[in-house]
């Protein structure tokens, strides 16, 4: 295995991947240690190092590249615990519904555990949040048993950074979606080609008076900035791109951070404690190296971009007598308000071949449901796509009411594989005070650290929202001409890769963990930049906003550092 970012091995031959990388000794006091190299950590590493700061990025996983990736489905994270994601055997999670229940081992937390994090295998839906997302408490009120609040920033504060994401990493799409908030620049790349799923979504949506639009995707429709355009291989969701067309941190931000000559990506390095001194400032991060030996990397400031599960876990593990409830947790909000988004799914079987196993996953979206009519009494909203999640390992798919094996199934297997698709409703989730991640008192991981424990019960509104989206999804399938519609799933997800809200951003130190500069209210030289900052969940696709926040945070932190105000 690599872990050495200079070289990898291809069929036994060493291959140089990156320009020589600057390295630091743990005793060097670098300007920043960043924990995590994913969607947010990659942006922070690139921006801070290019702004002149010395940076060490601690990444749990290895440094893989396209030479290591494979079309073999056992590699991707369609299979849990494989090459690209956290291995739950070594790092179990536990979960329970309420405080009264005993938590059991569970795979609720899914994250990328390689350089580039989850962006290496993501689906690449890059939806901007609508303007209303940032001011929902003011506009729609606060439902019972929800902690939903306004963000301390507005869409206008983030717009330049959404644009920066699109141009700096490469996002394909078409400006003009009537439900997209105002933008200052067009997309740098035209949309990916429409697929049969997209044509069918157009057909269904047009019949229902909705507005289908080319999907904004962080996948290159054409070569861009030295990377290949998408070749429509189809081994996409849950898998790593072999032609560098998927705009992951691995192929966008990380190489540019390394090229700055000021950034070290230190792999197989699992952070276990953020260290603090007597004056309550952070002094570095202690991590397990690849030999499970503890190492302290000293730093003038620390940025946590470890994801909405690992970041609060690390803060809670960093308790001291001065910070008895965990670092940066005087509010008691670290780990709280966890949101996963919600899903509503139905399957449709059509007359002709769709072949969704070719190409990127999504080519058209419908956002008419970003804001729901007040008459429905539903809080939040979401959007739809049609997709065929099938990869060849799904060749054994069945259809309800039809044979599942034998010659009768064999005769239909090709139809199930090539002529079916799913309508996918992506939805918001409400934060609640008790939905949270904390440290399991009993279960430990292979390093002896506590397992992250989830306590989660979906808000009643989100079940209603899921039911509505499921019904609407059926209508879209039927209007698109589906011969048969199956499935009935809709509601809040109780886990997954969207790990949001656990170190929320806000102006009030009593109810939030970081301020609008991503600075911990309690610790002046500690910053948190990842999905944990979300005050609300968005309409289903968080990564675009995670990166826009990161670009903005990097500007803010740079300004503070240059003003000697860290």
């Amino acid at each position: 295995m690599s872990g050495d970012p200079h070289h990898t091995h291809h069929r036994g031959e060493p291959v140089r991947l990156l320009p020589p990388m600057r390295t630091y000794a743990p005793t060097d006091e670098v300007d920043f240690v960043i924990v995590g190299s994913g969607a947010a950590g990659g942006v922070m590493a690139r921006e801070l190092s290019r702004n002149g700061f010395s940076v060490v990025v601690l990444e749990q996983g290895p440094f893989l590249t396209e030479r290591d990736f494979s079309h073999d489905q056992f590699w991707g994270d369609l299979q849990p615990d494989k090459a690209l994601t956290n291995n739950r055997k070594d790092q179990p999670g536990t979960s329970r519904k309420t405080d009264k229940d005993d938590a059991k081992i569970s795979s609720w937390n899914n994250y990328g555990r390689v350089v580039g994090g989850g962006s290496v295998h993501f689906t690449a839906n890059y939806w901007r949040f609508p303007e209303l997302e940032f001011e929902q408490a003011t506009r729609f009120g606060v439902p019972d048993d929800s902690t939903i609040a306004d963000w301390p920033i507005r869409y206008a504060d983030l717009e330049p950074y959404y644009t920066k994401v699109e141009w700096d990493i490469g996002v394909s799409g078409l400006a003009g979606n009537p439900f997209e908030p105002p933008r200052t620049k067009p997309f740098p790349l035209p949309p990916l080609p429409i697929k049969s799923e997209g044509v069918l979504l157009e057909r269904g949506a047009n019949k229902l008076g909705m507005h289908p639009w080319p999907a904004p995707m962080a996948i290159l429709s054409h070569p861009y900035r030295g990377r290949s355009g998408c070749v429509a291989c189809g081994i996409c969701i849950g898998n790593a791109c072999e032609v560098r067309a998927k705009s992951s941190s691995l192929v966008t931000m990380i190489p540019e951070a390394v090229a700055s000559g000021r950034c070290e990506i230190r792999t197989l390095s699992y952070a276990r404690k953020v260290e603090t001194n007597a004056s309550g400032r952070v002094t570095g991060v202690t991590y397990f190296d690849k030999n499970k030996k503890e190492v302290l990397q000293r730093a003038k400031a620390v940025v946590l971009s470890a994801n909405g599960c690992e970041t609060p876990k690390l803060l809670l593990m960093s308790a001291t007598t001065a910070f008895p409830d965990g670092l940066a947790n005087s509010s008691g909000q670290v780990g709280r308000n966890i949101m996963f988004n919600g899903s509503a799914l139905r399957d449709g079987l059509f007359e002709h071949e769709i072949n969704g196993w070719k190409g990127a996953v999504v080519s058209r979206v419908v956002w008419d449901t970003y804001e729901m009519p007040a008459s429905l009494g539903l809080y939040g909203g979401g959007g739809f796509d049609f997709r065929c999640g099938y990869t060849p390992l799904n060749g054994g798919a069945t259809w309800p009411g039809e044979p599942t094996w034998g010659s009768a199934w064999k005769k239909r297997a090709r139809d199930y594989f090539t002529k079916s698709l799913s309508v996918y409703g992506h939805m918001s989730s409400l934060p609640t005070p008790n939905n949270r991640v904390d440290l399991d008192p009993k279960v430990k991981d292979a390093w002896g650290l506590p397992a992250p424990r989830l306590t989660f019960t979906g808000h009643p509104n989100d079940f209603k929202l899921g039911a509505w989206f499921g019904k609407r999804g059926e209508e879209l399938l039927t209007a698109a001409g589906a011969l048969s519609v199956a499935g009935e799933y809709g509601g809040p997800d109780g886990g997954g890769p969207h790990l949001l809200g656990t170190c929320r951003m806000g102006n009030d130190p009593r109810t939030s963990v970081v301020n609008a500069d991503h600075r911990a209210h309690d610790v002046p030289n500690l910053f948190i930049v990842d999905g944990s900052n979300f005050v609300t969940s968005g309409r289903g696709q968080p990564t675009m906003t995670i990166q826009a926040l990161a670009f903005r945070a990097a500007d803010r932190i740079t300004a503070l550092a240059k003003a000697k105000a860290l």
């Binding site: 295995m1 079309h71 697929k195 044509v199 060849p392 060749g395 054994g396 094996w405 594989f417």
Partner: protein, 186 residues
């Protein structure tokens, strides 16, 4: 998550539930050539288990006017997978086989073993298993389908028989139109 659509449509329970293979294990497994000799010893299965699985998988995906599980070498896949990527699930799979044997031994009043039943009785017994012991059936079906559709480097899907059945081609580079409905839109 690998969201529900994928989990639900996965070839079956075992494929999703089995295994916590590491990157290095995966690396090792890819050295396994698809063309294992017919007479090669099994790595994990007993001869009896292999014989039973040969018959069961051939009922699940029979050889009819197109090749089936036998030609795809699904049993070789199962054997090799249990020795490698599904290593941690050997016990679970042994239990599945034991449950299967127990269930099917009650099919005929004389307690005949599954392999002693006539082919029609075997098919009927599998149908009963699907109805009454869906978890056991799902595990057997799941690993059979995984052997049929996984990359041939794992020892099954021999000659890409599984992929041909479902109309999948591993060309890994496509241009529109991808399907029927997007013709004329490229």
């Amino acid at each position: 998550m690998q969201r529900r659509d994928f989990v639900q449509s996965m070839a079956g329970g075992l494929a999703g539930a089995l295994g916590a293979a590491s990157w290095s294990q995966l690396r090792a497994v890819s050295a396994y050539a698809a063309g294992v000799a017919e007479s090669a010893p099994y790595e994990c299965l007993t001869a009896e288990q292999a014989k039973l699985l040969d018959v069961v998988t051939a009922h699940l995906i029979p050889t009819d006017d197109t090749p089936g599980a036998r030609e795809a070498k699904v049993v070789r896949f199962i054997d090799h997978a249990l020795a490698t990527i599904f290593k941690d699930n050997q016990k679970d799979f042994a239990k599945t086989l034991a449950d299967f044997t127990e269930f099917t031994s009650h099919y005929r009043p004389d307690g005949a073993a599954f392999l002693a039943l006539t082919p029609n009785e075997q098919i009927d017994a599998l149908g009963e298993l699907e109805r009454l012991e869906p978890d056991v059936f799902r595990d057997l079906r799941g690993i059979t389908m995984t052997g049929m559709f996984a990359h041939p480097e794992h020892g099954g899907n021999f000659g890409k028989i599984g992929w041909k059945l479902i109309g999948y081609e591993d060309r890994y580079s496509w241009a529109p139109p991808f399907g029927y409905y997007d013709r004329g839109r490229e």
